[in-house]
Symmetry: D2
Subunit: 264 residues, 4 copies
């Protein structure tokens, strides 16, 4: 029943300055609104639609930036890992390791992440039912680590389209772990632009608000000062200058939701 946590940042790391600019601005916004803030960014985009899509700073330079942001801005941080051997280093540099949705059934990755002892945020695969996450969770728990977050980011719905089923949030909450709504990826149109993914940026606040009204633990939002120039996921990101008003509104819904818990 803690107030909403906001996990936000650019899709991929661009530079230390850029990361600190966004983390700093988001920290101010969240503090003003009474939300806890976690900075999110990726050091590598390992599954771009196209081989020519930009992949980011790479693990070494990227994790260094993540450490600098954490130290300089004073916020907890999250990044995604794509292979078991990345987990230990990433867990040194950030607070939360994230398992990408496509990799949410890869046992070795889940176990390696769990073994670091870090908090593990598992994105539900686009091909999984909410109740399938009980088996996914058990893979991390097998390491003795029960610091787990579960994230909804949409289910495959025909071709090049996702749909976010609101039932998935209370359903995943039955595991006992905090549930996160990824408001920006759930409005992605995977592969929808041919050589890259499209998105429906305008619907991200819709997803965020509907989910927050159900009393979830956190919302995940990708943001950028100029989404149309972001190296990835621009079509579904929320512009940074709209985040203040959005978070503010979400916190009002969060307070009302936490005062009126839904019981399934």
């Amino acid at each position: 029943d803690l107030p909403l946590t906001v996990i936000a940042g650019p899709c991929q790391l661009e530079s230390r300055d850029h990361a600190e600019m966004i983390a700093g601005r988001m920290k101010e916004i969240c503090e003003a609104a009474g939300a806890q803030y976690v900075f999110k960014a990726s050091y590598d985009k390992a599954n771009r639609t196209s081989v020519s899509g930009k992949r980011g700073l790479g693990i070494e330079a990227g994790l260094k930036v993540m450490e600098e942001v954490r130290a300089a801005i004073g916020v907890p941080t999250l990044t995604d890992v794509h292979a078991p051997e990345q987990c230990a280093a990433a867990a040194q540099a950030v607070d939360i390791l994230q398992i990408p949705a496509f990799l949410s059934r890869q046992t070795d990755l889940l176990v390696a992440a769990g073994e670091t002892g870090a908090v593990i945020n598992i994105k539900k695969g686009q091909f999984l039912a909410p109740w399938d996450m009980a088996n996914v969770v058990a893979k991390v728990e097998s390491t003795g680590n029960s610091r787990i977050l579960l994230t909804e980011r949409g289910s495959s719905f025909g071709y090049n389209t996702l749909v976010a089923d609101m039932r998935a949030l209370p359903q995943m909450a039955k595991t006992g772990y905090p549930v996160v709504m990824d408001a920006t990826h759930s409005v992605q149109q995977p592969g929808g632009l041919g050589g890259s993914s499209g998105g429906q940026r305008e619907f991200a606040p819709v997803m965020a608000r509907a989910a927050v009204s159900l009393g979830i633990a956190a919302v995940f939002i990708e943001t950028h000062e100029d989404p149309d120039r972001a190296p990835s996921d621009g079509p579904n990101m929320i512009p940074l200058d709209q985040m203040g008003k959005l978070i503010d509104t979400l916190m009002q819904f969060d307070a009302l939701a936490k005062a009126n818990p839904i019981e399934i």
Copy 2:
């Protein structure tokens, strides 16, 4: 920006006494919560899963009960029509004619309903995209009637399952017409029990709250004092004695949503 309207009632008419009991109780609940109330019931269930499913009182006796409820309880009423020739009589007896989802592309029915001049509530077909409703609306508008409501009740999602896409609500609102969330049918499991439809009653409040948080005009909820004995749709109905608390909570989310309109 009016406060939320609640469209609620049993799935099918059972008797005058039963209808008045539910309408009376719901009227009290809605008045106490500051919601406008519309009584809903069906005189005929024309598309039961099984030929042996109960179909209701029939049009003549059913419409008579609808008139009596309106007069006795003093609430506007809604019923669904299944054929063009039923529209005129139904429009005499109730305030709102509803087009069932399966019939949402039947031109003659839409036109006949529109020609009555009554308010027309069109349920989006399980097989339609939200933007397809613009063509459906135009069929009613072709009669000169623009008193139209549009209802989300879920989209086909694999076999025996529906999913309610929250994006459909603001998308349909682009037509300029009020949007309704059918919180109970959207958690139906069509045909899921073999000879009848299953449902996930526990998720109906989830759907209602998520949708209301987006600032919709109305919520549609089927209710019964003993859902497990209701002649139809029992598995997804909300027990009548839980409606007070539910409506109360929804009105708080409605007030917050109306104060913070979403713009798409």
Copy 3:
């Protein structure tokens, strides 16, 4: 284990001459290939995407043409019915009454059609699972009529898209009734052109061949001498001048399939 039946014709009746031209040409093609032929056409398109879509000749003129085609060309005929009161007249004029997919759960229509004693071809709703058809069949059987055909025409798959599940064919065959593959509607893109439905004409032969290889009773194909000028369903129709080669090939697959029955 009879040879494949081909149900084919234009989507909607245009004129007596046009109907007889197509019926005559198809009869020649089917006789040459060893297939039984049924002429199909609609006298009314009751659920066009848009209110301005052409609807056809109407029931009176349309049924008259259907009778003339049957007499002049000497082939059995099929047309679809949209309301219970149409069934008796339609059953006088044609051999097979077809229940449209959107209407496949409307009890009164199924019963009225069944009561005529005609053969009833029920198209599986885009919102139904194959096993749900057992309940649909029981509605017709309740009239004592067991001259039933079941047609696959695709399931909703996200927005504006259908997918035809090959499993549906043997699954529906478990009812004991002959199964038909609608090769042209299953490649429709419902509402996909905004004011009308799109289609993927090039994939219709793919659907037909895959289904025929499983040993089905009949294939349903809409055809036109100039699909791009057809008043409806042009995008998914097969040009008439390609039907000869297509039917010829399908008959070879049919013979092989009937010699190697699949048992589920």
Copy 4:
């Protein structure tokens, strides 16, 4: 236009004797039927539903068995790889490296596999559209390797269900690469048994035949002498003693399909 290739074997390697038994039997069956045969088995099941699911012999022991089977039985072999660093060793031991469906967008894995120069069989992700495979193919082609196969294994269709869209086969063939139908995984029910995946073994021959009738290059079938005791994927495997008749029938459909190519 070569005759059909059959890629078949147990889901996971159990022992050298077991692998050789199946490879030997399948080789006989395929030779008798005129099909080319490729032995398939996995040394590791890296994405089991549950952490307690059996994973197989491991890479070292497993690749050794794969080499022994190839040498002893004299057939080409296929195995799947799950991480970039596995590719070089696997390419020494087998002829075809397979990219698992969940990993079909992981750029590093595709590139590492491509760089070995081996034939690469890419399974289409359950979350991808057929046309998305053009981008996947380009990742492998970026290494200069154009020895590529593309496999259909079903698309997500609601929860715990897959559907195989027959249009995907000619659509993927537009890339110019040979197309494979995975007849057993496409009838899988992912996660459908709670702690493991269910399946509909009886429909695997349906999928195989429908696909082969379209003139594909190869069919992929998992088989076991006692599927109910197989350590994984038992519910969708075909019993070994039914493979002779199945392959025999498929070859007849293949000959007919290759004589009547479909042009899209």
